[in-house]
Amino acid sequence: MYTETQIIKDTTQFSSNGHEGELVINVGPQHPATHGVLHLVITLNGETIKKVEPHLGYIHRSIEKMCESLTYRQFIYVTSRMDYLSAHMNNHACAMTVEKGLQIEVPPRAQYIRVIMDELTRIASHELWWGAMAMDLGAFTPFFYAFRERETINDIMEETCGARLTMNYMVPGGVMADIHPLFQQKVKDFIKLFKSKIDEYDELVTGNIIFQNRMKGVGLLSKEDAISYGCSGPVARGSGVSCDIRKLYPYEVYDKVAFDEVLENEGDSFARYMVRVREMHQSIRIIEQLIDNIPEGDFQAKTKAVLKLPKGEFYTRVETARGELGVYIVSEGGTTPYRIKFRSPGFSNLSALDHMARGSKIGDLMAMMGTLDLVIPDIDR
């Protein structure tokens, strides 16, 4: 049996060097601020963070292994369950990899629809992040304002794709169904609504003095560190790293539309926040350019009933709402992939958390985690 002093001694053994006075706190796996089953082991000295150690694997579903037993048409739906907030982009990346292997030319109509859907998903994802971010810092109301506009996007998705979150709308060669007759009108209505509401976001949260004080100068990540940790997406762009796949390696019709790559150079939490808020404006700009110009034609290229990728290795990447998603398929020439690897943005972004958090106060940790925009199923897959 343990005596009281022994128990105290035993807990100190968890700290890295066994120093007295260090405190180890477990945040998660069930904690409202981690947005999922993330387990952080935090070593503290008083209130100062000495080390943050993420423990992963609580929501590992072995999606990569599952994909090996599914055909090239079937495996796309599983990837909606990785980063469920950018399900469209995940499906897009997979469909593009299969198209690359089979050298299928995607009809222009499908390309336009795909990009519009991607950008709508990006706005929906950033909206949810914005609401959850404010909620992490204790402001509950913005969450509902964000969901109000997000609901409009979900309705558009439901009408055209058939589902609100896990759409499975992309198929190799195009999209599953043509757009709904009301789609264009509804997207235009949404743009109009969104433009009138986005200023509210700045009024409510961005300009708020409490919010700014908690975000500015917190969670600093330098440009060099962002590159060496492999960060991508808004996290890296908040540190001034130019890494937008849409701009640098354009796919589909991104080379035909005018939009800016959003860059902030401060590298703190507020910079990452501003990148996402400004990205929503850019997404609106992209949709506005495309929505009236969807060309007529097929929405799906003619493909064989059974898809067989030639022997070889295929890699494509897209820019999801969280960063760079890479899909790597090794094919042996059969109907199922030999090996699939997903390079998920969340995993690399999370790895920078320890570096960011060291030396800062524990109260700022949730603000930093919020700006990383973590989706845990994306990290574990």
């Binding site: 599914l70 079937q74 708020n208």
Partner: protein, 158 residues
Amino acid sequence: MFIKEYLTDIYKGTKSLLTGMKRTGYYFVRPREIITEQYPDNRETLVMAERFRGEVVMPHDANNEHACTGCTACELACPNATIKIITKFDITPEGKKKKALDTFVYHLELCTMCGLCVEACPTAAIKMGQNFEHSVYDRSQLTKKLNNPGSKIREGVE
């Protein structure tokens, strides 16, 4: 100088807080802008989107006939082994044997509503239904038989 900065900070802070409060107050006195749907109360008027994927259904016409030939294309397309098709052999008037559907077993508990079976069906015999209220007390109730009892294939569907 210090006091001036201190007071400016207080002024700016209060102003930013009031700006946010103004927005909240705006919606507080305008309940008409609330978009919340009171879900179980509005069940009678709730209309789901036409393409919404709630479950797989097999439409039957007035003569209790369906369009399923028992070709198992949906069974092969399904990633989760949700569909199991049991076939039988009918004897045609000419005395030949013809493959026909006996039972269309649909495991709703395994279905992820991806819609690949509907895409794969060559005769449009199945479609996605709009019903999404699937909760039951026992999981065995989720295994469904989609073809009606005594139903047969429609004339002319090959």
